[in-house]
C-alpha cells in the first residue's frame, strides 16, 4: 500500500464530504428544518418556554428510545415498553397512596426516592423476564415482548381495577411528598424530566462507547456467533439489554406520571412504536450492531418537536399521524441509502488501496 494511494483516497473523501455529512447527520438536520419551518409558521414556536415544554414531552420518548436502542443494538426488539411504563406508573402511584397490610393493621408510606427505586426494580424485573425468554429459552424477541405487552398491560389494569391514581402529591405529615417534582418542576430552569433523560443518556453513552459491556452489545448485534467464539457472554448481554430497557421504561413511567400528576393503567399505549421510531430515525439498524445514543435522542426530538409543532399550528390529530408515519418511512429509506453508500465507499477505498480485492467482496456479500 503506497502513500500515493492514501493521498488519492483522502482527496476523494474530501469531495464527498458534504453528502456524507448531510447523510450521517440527517436526524440533526431534520430537527433544524423542523424548528425553522414551525418557527416561520407559528410565532409561539420559537421560544425558550416552548422548547422546554416540548423537551419535557420528549423526555418520555427519549428514555424509552434509549432503552429500546440497547435492545435493538443486539438485534432484538422490545414491544413491551409502553405497557411496562403504565405498569410502573400505577405501581408508583399505588406506593404513594400507601401500602396497607391489613393483617397487621399497618400502613406504609414510602418516601419518593424509595418509590422511584422500587419502581425501577419492577421495570427491571419485567425486562429480566423478557431477557430470560429471549436469551435462554430462545423465544423470538418479537413474540416474547409482544406477550409481555399484553401481560404488563393486564397487570396494570388488575392492579388498579382500571382506575387512575390521581393523588400523587403525597402528604407532608407522612413524608412522601415531592413526586410531582420529578416531572413538573425545574432545576436550573430545566424541567427535571429532561435532566433525568440527560443523565440517563450520558450514562448510556459512556456504557456503550467506553465499556467492555458496550463493545459486547455491538458485537452481539453484529454477529452473535463470532462474538460468542471471541469470549463475549452473549446470553448475559441479551438479558442485560432487556433489563436496561425495562428500567428505562420505569423511569419514563415515573416522569410521565409526575408530569400528568396521575398514573393510569392505559398510559403509554403505542409508545413502544414511538420509541422504535426514534431509534430508527436516529439511523440505527434493526438488524443490530449499528446505532448511537446521541442519534436516538435526536430521533426522539425529531418526533417530539414535529408532533408538538403540528399541534401548535393547529394541524388535526389525524394529519399528525400521517406526517409522523411518513417521516419514519423516509428515515428508514435514508438508512438504506447510507449503508449502501458506506458499502460503496469502502469498495472504492478497497479498489484504490489495493487492486487485488474483488474476489473477497464476492464472498463477503
Amino acid at each position: 500500500m503506497s502513500h500515493h494511494n492514501n493521498n488519492a483516497l483522502q482527496v476523494e473523501k474530501g469531495s464527498i464530504d458534504i453528502v456524507k455529512i448531510l447523510l450521517e447527520g440527517r436526524a440533526f438536520f431534520a430537527l433544524i428544518v423542523i424548528i425553522i419551518v414551525f418557527s416561520i409558521l407559528s410565532p409561539v414556536y420559537f421560544s425558550t418556554g416552548n422548547f422546554l415544554t416540548m423537551s419535557s414531552h420528549v423526555a418520555v420518548f427519549g428514555l424509552l428510545g434509549i432503552g429500546m436502542l440497547f435492545v435493538i443494538l443486539t438485534g432484538g426488539i422490545d414491544l413491551s415498553v409502553g405497557s411496562t411504563l403504565a405498569l410502573c406508573g400505577v405501581f408508583a402511584g399505588m406506593l404513594l397512596e400507601g401500602v396497607e397490610i391489613e393483617a397487621f393493621n399497618l400502613a406504609f408510606f414510602p418516601s419518593v426516592w424509595v418509590v422511584v427505586v422500587l419502581t425501577c426494580l419492577l421495570g427491571g424485573l419485567v425486562g429480566a423476564i423478557n431477557g430470560v425468554l429471549v436469551a435462554y429459552f430462545k423465544v423470538p424477541a418479537f413474540v416474547a415482548t409482544l406477550g409481555m405487552l399484553y401481560v404488563a398491560r393486564g397487570a396494570a389494569l388488575l392492579l388498579t381495577d382500571g382506575l387512575t391514581f390521581n393523588s400523587l402529591s403525597g402528604d407532608p405529615t407522612l413524608g412522601n411528598t415531592g413526586f410531582e417534582w420529578l416531572g413538573f418542576n425545574k432545576l436550573f430552569g430545566i424541567p427535571v424530566g429532561v435532566l433525568i433523560l440527560f443523565c440517563a443518556a450520558v450514562i448510556c453513552m459512556l456504557a456503550l462507547s467506553r465499556t467492555p459491556f458496550g463493545r459486547w452489545i455491538y458485537s452481539t448485534g453484529g454477529n452473535a456467533r463470532a462474538a460468542e467464539l471471541s469470549g463475549v457472554p452473549v446470553n448475559r448481554v441479551k438479558l442485560s439489554v432487556y433489563i436496561i430497557s425495562g428500567v428505562c421504561a420505569a423511569l419514563a413511567g415515573i416522569v410521565l406520571a409526575s408530569q400528568l400528576t396521575s398514573a393510569g393503567p392505559t398510559a403509554g399505549t403505542t409508545y413502544e412504536l414511538t420509541a422504535i421510531a426514534a431509534v430508527v430515525i436516529g439511523g440505527a439498524s434493526l438488524m443490530g450492531g449499528r446505532g448511537t445514543v446521541r442519534n436516538t435522542l435526536l430521533g426522539a426530538f425529531v418526533i417530539g418537536f414535529l408532533a408538538d409543532g403540528l399541534v401548535i399550528i393547529g394541524v388535526s390529530a389525524y394529519w399528525q399521524m400521517v406526517f409522523t408515519g411518513s417521516v419514519i418511512v423516509f428515515a428508514v429509506m435514508l438508512n438504506n441509502v447510507q449503508y449502501s453508500a458506506k458499502h460503496k465507499s469502502s469498495q472504492q477505498a478497497e479498489k484504490t488501496t489495493e487492486s487485488k480485492r474483488e474476489g473477497s467482496r464476492a464472498s463477503a456479500t
Binding site: A8, A226, L229, S230, G289, S355, K356, E358, G359, S360
Partner: protein, 515 residues
C-alpha cells in the same frame, strides 16, 4: 503482457464464445486489462487465479451481471451485449454462483421452474408437467431425486445438481460454475464431475472456477490464468501441470514452508483424552469417538480428513462451543471440560473457526474492533476502555499478522478473504494463547495468503505456541506440521511424520486415490 501460448494446437476445438479485449474499470481502478478469453464448445475451460485476480469480475461480465467498460463478447460469431443476467440466459449463458440461489423451503420442482412456471390456460400452474420435466432432468443428471423433495432436505451436493438442472431447463449452452466443489464431500465431487462429463458429451460448454487446483486439473480441458486483471497464460490441459498453474497465478514458485526446527518443544499443552461427542442428528451415534490427542508447546499438528470426518465437531468441542458426552480436555494439565468459551480463552485456548463470515467476523465493526474483540479487558482500566491502549494493541496486531488495510478504522468488508482470515487469527493471537486451534485456516484464501498464514503459525510455534489445524488439502499436510493425523469417521485413523507421501495420507482417510 507475456502470454504463454505453449503450443500450436493441431486441430483447434471450436470456440463458442470469445471475449475480446475486455476491460473493466471500477472508478480509478482497472480490474481487468485487455483480457481475451475463449470458451470451447463441449469442453471445460477453467479459470485460475488468486482472490482478486479478476475471475469473478470476468464471469460477471460474461453472464450479464455487470457490463464491461470496453471490449466485445462474440457468441458464435456474433457480437452480443447483455444488460442483465436474463439477457445472457436468453442466449444460453447461465452462471451458478458459489452460494446457491435455491429456495430451501420449496421443493425441487418449484426451484427448477422458479420464475418461469409452466402454465395451462388461465394462469394456473401446470404442476404435473413441471414435475414430469423436473424428473426427466434429474434422471438425465443421474441423480433421481423426487421432484417433490424439499431442497432443504438435500445434501449440498444434491442441491448443486438441482441448480444445474435448473440451468439445463433454460437450455443453457454455456454453464459458468463458480467454486462448485467448495462445500462438497469427495464422493459428491466425484458425482459432480460425472455430471460435468455428461454435460460435455451433450455439447454444453463449461467454465469452471476453483481454488482447488488439483481437483480442477482432473476435469478441465483448457486452463486460463488471470493475475491482477491480466491474462497471464493459456494452455490446453495436456501441456500443463500443477506447478505451471501456480507459477502463473502467483508469478513465482510458491512454497508453503516446512516444519519449524531448531528449538525444543515444551511439555504437553493440550491433552484430549478419550473424547466422545454425540451426534445431534442420530441418537446413540458419535461424531467423535474415543479420540485422544496430546499436543506439546511449540508443536504443529495437522488433522487431515474429509467432510464429515468429525474435525469441526472436535474443534468446536475443544473450544467450548459444544459439550462432549465423555472424556476430558486438559489445558496445561488443568481440566477445562466445564469451562465456557470465555474461560477457555482466558486460560489460553482459542479457536479460529472454519467459516469466517459466519463465526469469525463481526461485519458491523471496524477491522480494529474485530481485532480487539477477544481481548477487551486488556485495554480496560477502571471499567472504561482506553482508546489509546486499544489503538496500540490494534496497530501491533495489524503489524504482527501483516494485514493489508487502510488502518484499524477500515471496514471489515473492504479486506480480501486472506486479510479477513488474518484478522480472525490476529484477534485470537492478541489474547496471548498457549494453544491455537484452527479449522481449515486456508479455506477460500489465495496461495499467497495461505503461505503467510502458515508462516505466522510457524513463528507462533517457535515462541512456544501449540498449533492444531485441520485441512482438506493434502499438500498442506506436507508443509509446516510436525505431525499429520488423519481423521476418519470420528477417529484418528493414522498418524504420520513429515516425510509422508500424499497417497499414504489419502489412503488412510478412506479417500479413493484418483489416478
Amino acid at each position: 503482457m507475456n502470454i504463454d501460448r505453449s503450443t500450436v494446437e493441431v486441430a483447434p476445438p471450436e470456440v463458442i464464445l470469445s471475449a475480446r479485449n475486455i476491460e473493466k474499470r471500477f472508478g480509478a481502478v482497472q480490474a481487468l486489462k485487455e483480457v481475451n478469453f475463449d470458451i470451447y464448445r463441449g469442453q471445460v475451460t477453467t479459470l485460475f487465479g488468486e482472490n482478486g485476480a479478476g475471475k469473478s469480475t470476468l464471469m460477471k461480465i460474461l453472464s450479464g451481471v455487470i457490463a464491461q467498460t470496453a471490449g466485445e463478447i462474440v457468441l458464435e460469431g456474433e457480437s452480443v451485449s447483455f444488460s442483465s443476467p436474463s439477457d445472457a440466459e436468453a442466449l444460453g449463458i447461465t452462471i451458478i454462483h458459489q452460494e446457491l440461489s435455491l429456495a430451501p423451503n420449496l421443493n425441487v420442482r418449484d426451484n427448477i421452474f422458479m420464475g418461469r412456471e409452466l402454465t395451462k390456460g388461465r394462469g394456473s400452474v401446470d404442476y404435473k408437467e413441471e414435475a414430469r420435466q423436473a424428473e426427466l432432468l434429474m434422471e438425465e443428471l443421474d441423480e433421481p431425486i423426487h421432484p417433490l423433495t424439499l431442497v432443504e432436505d438435500l445434501r449440498v451436493g444434491q442441491q448443486q445438481i438441482v441448480e444445474i438442472a435448473r440451468a439445463l431447463s433454460k437450455n443453457s449452452r454455456i454453464l459458468i460454475m463458480d467454486e462448485p466443489t467448495s462445500a462438497l464431500s469427495a464422493t459428491e465431487v466425484e458425482t459432480l464431475f460425472k455430471v460435468v462429463q455428461d454435460l460435455k458429451n451433450k455439447g454444453v460448454s463449461i467454465v469452471y472456477i476453483s481454488h482447488h487446483l488439483e481437483e480442477a486439473l482432473q476435469i478441465t480441458d483448457h486452463a486460463v490464468v488471470l493475475r491482477d486483471g491480466v491474462m497471464t497464460a493459456y494452455a490446453p490441459r495436456s501441456d500443463i501441470d500443477l506447478q505451471w498453474i501456480v507459477r502463473h497465478m502467483v508469478g513465482e514458485s510458491f512454497d508453503l514452508g516446512s516444519p519449524p526446527t531448531g528449538y525444543e518443544q515444551g511439555s504437553t499443552a493440550l491433552s484430549i483424552q478419550n473424547l466422545y461427542i454425540s451426534d445431534d442428528k442420530v441418537a446413540g451415534r458419535y461424531v467423535v469417538e474415543d479420540l485422544s490427542l496430546d499436543v506439546r508447546a511449540g508443536e504443529i499438528v495437522c488433522i487431515y480428513g474429509l467432510m464429515g470426518a468429525g474435525r469441526t465437531e472436535l474443534l468446536e468441542c475443544v473450544a467450548g462451543r459444544t459439550r462432549q458426552s465423555k472424556g476430558d480436555i486438559l489445558l496445561n494439565s488443568t481440566d477445562v471440560s466445564h469451562y465456557n468459551i470465555a474461560q477457555r480463552i482466558e486460560r489460553g485456548l482459542v479457536l479460529v473457526p472454519e467459516d469466517r463470515q459466519r463465526d469469525g467476523l463481526v461485519p458491523t465493526l471496524s477491522v480494529g474492533r474485530n481485532l480487539s474483540l477477544a481481548s477487551i479487558h486488556a485495554f480496560t482500566r477502571k471499567g472504561l476502555t482506553s482508546s489509546s491502549l486499544e489503538a496500540e494493541m490494534i496497530n501491533s496486531a495489524i503489524d504482527k499478522v501483516h494485514i493489508k488495510t487502510d488502518g484499524g478504522e477500515a471496514s471489515i468488508g473492504s479486506l480480501s478473504g486472506g486479510n479477513q482470515q488474518k484478522v480472525v487469527i490476529g484477534k485470537m493471537l492478541a489474547t496471548h494463547p498457549d494453544v491455537i486451534i484452527l479449522d481449515e485456516p486456508s479455506r477460500g484464501i489465495d496461495v499467497g495468503a495461505k503461505a503467510e498464514v502458515f508462516k505466522l503459525l510457524s513463528q507462533g510455534a517457535r515462541r512456544g505456541l501449540a498449533v492444531v489445524f485441520t485441512t482438506s488439502e493434502v499438500s498442506e499436510c506436507l508443509s509446516i506440521p510436525h505431525r499429520v493425523l488423519v481423521m476418519s469417521k470420528g477417529r484418528i485413523s493414522a498418524e504420520f511424520k513429515p516425510g509422508v507421501t500424499k497417497d499414504e495420507i489419502m489412503a488412510a482417510s478412506g479417500e479413493s486415490v484418483a489416478a
